[in-house]
Amino acid sequence: MDFGYPQNLSPEILKLYITQEGVRSPFSSKPADKPVPNATLQVTGAVGWRREGLVYKKNEVFLDIVESVNLLMSSKGSVLRCDVTGKVLMKCFLSGMPDLKLGLNDKIGLEKESQLKSRPAKSGKTIELDDVTFHQCVNLTRFNAEKTVSFVPPDGEFELMKYRITEGVNLPFRVLPTIKELGRTRMEVNVKVKSVFGAKMFALGVVVKIPVPKQTAKTSFQVTSGRAKYNASIDCLVWKIRKFPGQTEPTLSAEVELISTIAEKKSWTRPPIQMEFQVPMFTASGLRVRFLKVWEKSGYNTVEWVRYITKAGSYEIRC
């Protein structure tokens, strides 16, 4: 507080001062041995987001890259809109005041590196990241000067950075729908879904929602994998595949019967097919963690864990 104005609003620090202990009995044998946190140090200290004196038996760092793919594809297979929003999530259980350095295969970092070491950039993909935002712990002056992401991490879980990619997106699935209306009361739906990621990987929880007209009465399906059914409350055929290996193309063919209605026959506006999925160890952007260095005074060893996952944002294919 300075002249009544709060100076530090970081929840991590404020938490320290909110003590919710019961009323201590005066006869209790143990005196209050909890050290009163040093407020001045916390407020004025350089690292406001991290307490001092943390000790872990096992020093571990978890790093997740989570991407979600937004896609709108026309019925002819051309991509109308496509982007990926990604997050780098970290979970740190590190003792003391470690200094971390993260290296990704992004364009800026690599170029800088190659300049410094005065040797040509390694062949291989470099990713251009748009709209990068960092957590407050990242040292921005060093990022500007050296183009490296270096930081003193807060304790526990936090979101290190966010980014967006609009170019060079690897789509995990291709959908090839054919929907035919046969007369006024019948429809034929054929949908082929092709997974285009590596054959060793697999997608989980794949759901394909194929919209049908409101007056759908009866449906019959043939699927090569997974299960399909008609959901009247959302007016969709819902096809679920729990485990979807890479480089396969299961198909669904359905016959839909419609009931005749009294309403004016207006042609059915076909809404797009929607998809949900999760592909572990796959990044639609192709982003990779090149290194994660931890430096601490005591020089303990750390264990680093890295995970990748790609999810569907709004993954829509017109039909």
Binding site: K218, A232, E257, S260, T261, A263
Partner: protein, 1092 residues
């Protein structure tokens, strides 16, 4: 209900009810709809193929389809069918679209069991509307049920038909329903339903009930003993009779019989007696039906009806029991309605109002019908008087309401007046609706005798009245005071008092009206104390200004009145201009801008009236004016600047700020406003009717203006009209507008602003200020000579002016004009310098003339001016005439003519140019009556009926004309034909007679057939008898005079300036037909035209 046991349905409903939000509900409904779709579809898929194999092929496609559906649904158990259709209905009732499954519902109608049938009928009537195609599928099934024997099914079917009641149903089922209604084998239950169903069908489609056959049956129906059926039938009868009462005369005595039976309480089962009153509903309905018939002629029926009414009147009283009261009063009011409607002997359908009073009971009360004896009416009023004396507010309300309805009937007013005190007490009722009723009633019952009391009562009440009512109250008090004022000073007193008390609630109209009143009544003889109204008003206004706190409206009125008339009381103590000024000026800081504007006018007027001029006062007022010259309000600023400038000019001030002229009389804005508000309130019309009746006598007081020399206000305003228009207005046009008026003398007095709208009081006076004489003096001297003296002498101008010209025309102008009357093109005027040609085209009531102005010289003609002086019946528009005509050139000027009404007046072209000297000619334009004829030949069959139908003056006029140019019959026929009067040979058996016909076109008459018959005397060619007929009296007269002009030979030499009467001129014996002489005398134009 058949719902019990349908678990699926109740589970679904409870699911829906358990939904926490709308979204979940929607999901559940969609799921259920998907389920129902699947079920319906499933069955069809499985069953229809089997059906196709053995389905019989029928002619009727619909039936076939229906059959198919029934079989198709048979896969579902009846339980399932019911369940799903109920679910559909439930979903539909929740507000979701259900656009399938109608076939299933319709098909259930023809199911054999009751539960299925019931759901089928219910769902069909809910889901389908009358224009639906699916209904056609149902018609047959419904019909089967109607003609079937099972009465529950009949009832279901009738309900459906009544509820949907579409066109198809009406066409195909009305007959069956009718049969059911009159069949004797049916139970009353079914017949009741049938009657109501038929009523519904009739309302949808009045053709379904065939009047010829049905009226007898309807009469038979009324013989029914069962009261239930009778009530339903009576509803039907009311609808039928309201549509066409003539065909159902036979029902009238039966209705009276029913009433008799009910009134005497004969043969009325216990279950139809409501609190001791035999079926009040039927009574009310019967009486309503009777109201649609005009007065009953049959004395027996009449007598018995009166007996019944008498009994009802006697039997009704106020009792404790609310329900009984309602029932009996309903009957009573209906009876009152019946009586007074017939009393007025007028056919007043639809004056029935059902209003909802606070006791939650509907009490139909009606306005009145039979020609009841006076004593009966007074009995009614006495009864109502009892009502308004009751404590119970509902009853009092009804009493007041009905009394004001009774007012519509004449000669109950006196009886009602007896209750005046009671009504005035009601004005103080705690209940506002009763107060309003009482106010309406007071307003309605007010006349000259009780006006003073009532208005004073209203004024007193005003100070305590509810705010919501004050405006209405003030308005009504003002109207009453104006309408029935015993004398004018009383009126002024009342209104000033009213304004003082009600202030905010007095609309501008009210005080405008006072001002109008005071201004218009300067010299009324019957003002009390022989005191003039204006000084009286001024004194009053002065008194009000003395009060410490006064309302702004009072300031406005007082300031206005004092401004106008304060000089009339200058002699009195405390009324010197200075004092008046200071007392008015005190109020200035407290008032709004609109009032400041009025105050400024007042100051200007005070200043003007101060004789001898008071320098101090003048300086004070000037200081105020100059202060307001910079006011942000434009109105005030303008006034201040103008008054300031004017007051420095001195003499002009007194002209401009002279007393306001009288306002033209017109319907009081107040009454108009009252009518408006009444229309808004959708109130019953008793008051309105009265107001309309009395608009005429509303102005009685003001109409008694003495006519000693002062011209009536309307004409005065006409004189003032030009000065209201812009200053730079074309003087000639002003002259024309004066000349066309009926005024004989141009008023030379300085013009005063003559606001024809009293709201214009607020308009700055100075703008309208230019004295009329100034504009008149700006006229060309020629016009001043020609235009001013007489309106009618437009014709006379031409010869008079000709002689003053120095340039001699070539050829005879009059002859050229006459030639052009017969032709459409030719030379109108020619002199050494110019030739004016004319070419005309005529189409119905419009015409297009082209003037060709040709310069014959080698030098240009300059200052060319052409003005058209049209008579009032022609609308003429001349396009722009160039100021110079180049040498040897011809200029064309189109001239558009529209004929408004028949008249023989001639348009004059005032043409002038300069060539060395000024040349000015006035030329008559050949746009005359016959140009708007369209010749038409009529056959004998057409002629004679027309001729006979136009009988007698003023449509058919006959005159013996003497002094006719002698010409042979053939010549005369040619003359007529050239005037576009088509002579029809052979119509008249007498060969010496001529018959001609034509069609006349004008904007007012449109196309009008004119017929002319000339009877000549072979012995004396100089006289003939002429009969002219047309559908328009003016047209007949004008046409007759026109033909006469053409037939009488006029020696050109006798162009004497002195008008000689037509009768005297040919020195013949006096006219044998006096009918025409007054008209001829009163029309100098006709005489002059005759001379030309």
């Amino acid at each position: 209900m058949a719902l019990s046991g349908m678990r699926g349905l109740s589970v679904f409903i409870s699911d829906i009810r358990n939904c926490p939000n709308k979204e979940q509900e929607r999901l559940r409904v969609d799921k259920e709809l998907g389920n129902i779709r699947t079920r319906f579809k499933n069955e069809k898929v499985h069953v229809v193929p089997t059906l196709r194999r053995n389905a019989p092929i029928k002619d009727d496609k619909d039936e076939d389809l229906l059959h198919l559906l029934i079989v198709g649904l048979e896969g579902l158990t009846p339980y399932e069918k019911k369940k799903y259709v109920w679910k559909m209905l439930y979903i539909y009732m929740l507000g979701y679209d259900v656009d399938f499954g109608h076939m299933e519902a319709v098909s259930l109608i023809s199911a054999p069991k009751y539960p299925e049938k019931q759901v089928g009928y219910i769902v069909t009537s809910c889901l389908l509307n009358e224009n639906h195609d699916f209904l056609r599928l149902a018609i047959n099934a419904v019909r089967n049920d109607i003609i079937g024997r099972n009465e529950t099914f009949q009832c279901l079917a009738l309900t459906l038909v009544g509820n949907i009641g579409g066109r198809d149903f009406a066409e195909s089922l009305a007959l069956d329903v009718q049969k059911l209604l009159i069949s004797s084998s049916c139970r009353p239950l079914v017949r009741k339903k049938a009657a109501l169903c038929l009523l519904r069908l009739f309302r949808k489609n009045p053709d379904v009930v065939n009047v010829d056959g049905w009226s007898d049956r309807m009469a038979q129906l009324l013989d029914e003993r069962d009261l239930g059926v009778l009530t339903s039938s009576m509803s039907l009868l009311v609808a039928l009779v309201s549509n066409d009462h003539d065909s159902y005369w036979s029902c009238l005595p039966k209705c009276v019989k029913i009433l008799e039976r009910l009134a005497r309480n004969q043969d009325v089962p216990q279950e139809y007696t409501y609190y001791g009153i035999p079926s009040p509903w039927l009574q009310v309905k019967t009486m309503r039906a009777l109201q649609y018939f005009p007065t009953i002629e049959d004395p027996n029926t009449r007598r018995s009806l009166f007996e019944v009414l008498q009994r009802i009147l006697m039997g009704t009283d106020v009792v404790k029991n609310v329900n009984k009261n309602n029932a009996s009063h309903a009957v009573l009011f209906e009876a009152l309605a019946l009586k007074s409607v017939s009393h007025g002997n007028q056919y007043v359908p639809g004056l029935a109002f059902i209003f909802f009073d606070r006791g939650n009971q509907y009490v139909p009360s009606l306005v009145m019908h039979l020609d009841a004896e006076k004593e009966m009416m007074s009995q009614c009023v006495a009864l109502l008087g009892k009502f308004i004396a009751v404590r119970e507010p509902n009853i009092r309300y009804l009493g007041l309401e009905n009394m004001s309805r009774m007012l519509m009937v004449t000669d109950v007013l006196d009886i009602i007046k007896r209750h005046q005190a009671q009504i005035i007490t009601s004005l103080k009722d705690p209940d506002i609706s009763i107060r309003r009723r009482a106010l309406d009633l007071l307003y309605g019952m007010c006349d000259v005798s009780n006006a003073k009391d009532i208005v004073e009562e209203l004024l007193q009440y005003l100070s305590t009245a509810d705010f919501a009512m004050r405006e209405e109250l003030a308005l009504k008090a003002a109207i009453l005071a104006e309408k029935f004022a015993p004398d004018l000073s009383w009126y002024v007193d009342v209104i000033l008092q009213l304004i003082d008390k009600a202030g905010d609630f007095v609309s501008d109209d009210i005080w405008f009206r006072v001002v109008q009143f005071v201004t218009n009544n300067e010299d009324l003889q019957f003002v009390t104390n022989n005191e003039d109204l204006q000084p009286y008003a001024a004194v009053k206004a002065r008194e009000y200004l003395d009060k410490p706190a006064i309302h702004e409206t009072v300031v406005k009125v007082s300031a206005y009145i004092l401004g106008e008339y304060s000089h009339l009381l200058a002699r009195r103590p405390g009324c010197s201009p200075k004092e008046i000024f200071s007392i008015i000026h005190e109020k200035l800081p407290t008032v709004s801008t609109s009032t400041i504007a009025i105050l400024l006018s007042t100051y200007a007027k005070i200043l003007m009236h101060t004789q001898p001029p008071d320098l101090e006062l003048q300086n004070q007022i000037w200081a105020i004016f100059s202060k307001y010259e910079g006011c942000i309000d434009v109105e005030i600023q303008q006034r201040a600047v103008e008054y300031f400038a004017l007051s420095r000019k001195g003499a002009a001030l007194s002209d401009i700020l002279a007393e306001m002229p009288k306002f033209p009389e017109r319907q009081s804005a107040l009454i108009k406003k009252a009518e408006d508000t009444e229309a808004d309130a959708a109130e019953q019309s008793a008051i309105k009717l009265r107001a309309q009746q009395q608009t005429s006598n509303a102005l009685v007081v003001t109409d008694q203006r003495p006519a000693n020399g002062t011209p009536p206000v309307t004409q005065l305003s006409l004189v003032k009209m030009p000065s209201m228009s812009n200053v730079d207005h074309n003087p000639a046009e002003q002259g024309v507008s004066q000349a066309n008026g009926t005024l004989s003398v141009v008023d030379p007095q300085p013009s005063r602003p003559s606001d024809d709208n009293i709201g214009d009081l607020l308009v700055p006076l100075a703008i309208e200020g230019p004295p009329g004489s100034a504009t008149l003096s700006g006229h060309s001297p020629v016009f001043g000579f020609g235009g001013a003296p007489n309106a009618e002498d437009a014709l006379a101008i031409a010869p008079v002016e000709e002689q003053t010209n120095t340039v001699q025309p070539i050829g005879n102008i009059a002859e050229r004009f006459h030639a052009l009357c017969l032709k459409d093109s030719g030379v109108l005027y020619e002199d050494p310098y110019i030739q004016i040609g004319i070419k005309a085209e005529w189409r119905v009531h419009q015409g297009r003339l082209v003037l060709f102005l040709g310069n014959k010289n080698t030098a240009p003609l300059v200052s060319v001016q052409a003005l058209i002086l049209p008579p009032s019946h022609l609308k003429m528009e001349l396009s722009l005439v160039p100021e110079t005509i180049p040498p040897r050139a011809q200029v064309q000027c189109p001239l558009e003519v529209v004929n408004l009404r028949p008249s023989r007046d001639v348009a004059v072209l005032d043409f002038s140019y300069k060539f060395g000297t000024n040349v000015n000619v006035k030329l008559r334009l050949p746009a005359i009556l016959n140009k708007f004829f369209q010749p038409i030949t009529v056959s004998a069959e057409e002629f004679f009926p027309q001729w006979r139908s136009l009988s007698g003056p003023p449509l058919k006029l006959q005159e013996v004309v003497r002094g006719v140019r002698s010409m042979s019959l053939v010549e005369m026929a040619n003359l007529f034909n050239s005037f576009r009067l088509m002579v029809c040979p052979g119509l008249d058996p007498n060969t010496n007679n001529l018959i001609a016909s034509t069609t006349f076109y004008s904007e007012s008459t449109r196309a009008m057939l004119c017929l002319v018959r000339i009877e000549t005397d072979p012995a004396d060619r100089t006289q003939l008898r002429m009969t002219v007929a047309s559908g328009d009296p003016t047209l007949t007269f004008e046409l007759k005079e026109f033909i006469k002009e053409q037939l009488i030979s006029i020696p050109t030499a006798s162009r004497a300036p002195s008008p000689v009467s037509l009768q005297a001129q040919p020195a013949e014996p006096p006219q044998p037909l006096p009918t025409s002489s007054p008209a001829a005398l009163s029309d100098p134009g006709a005489m002059l035209a005759g001379l030309l």
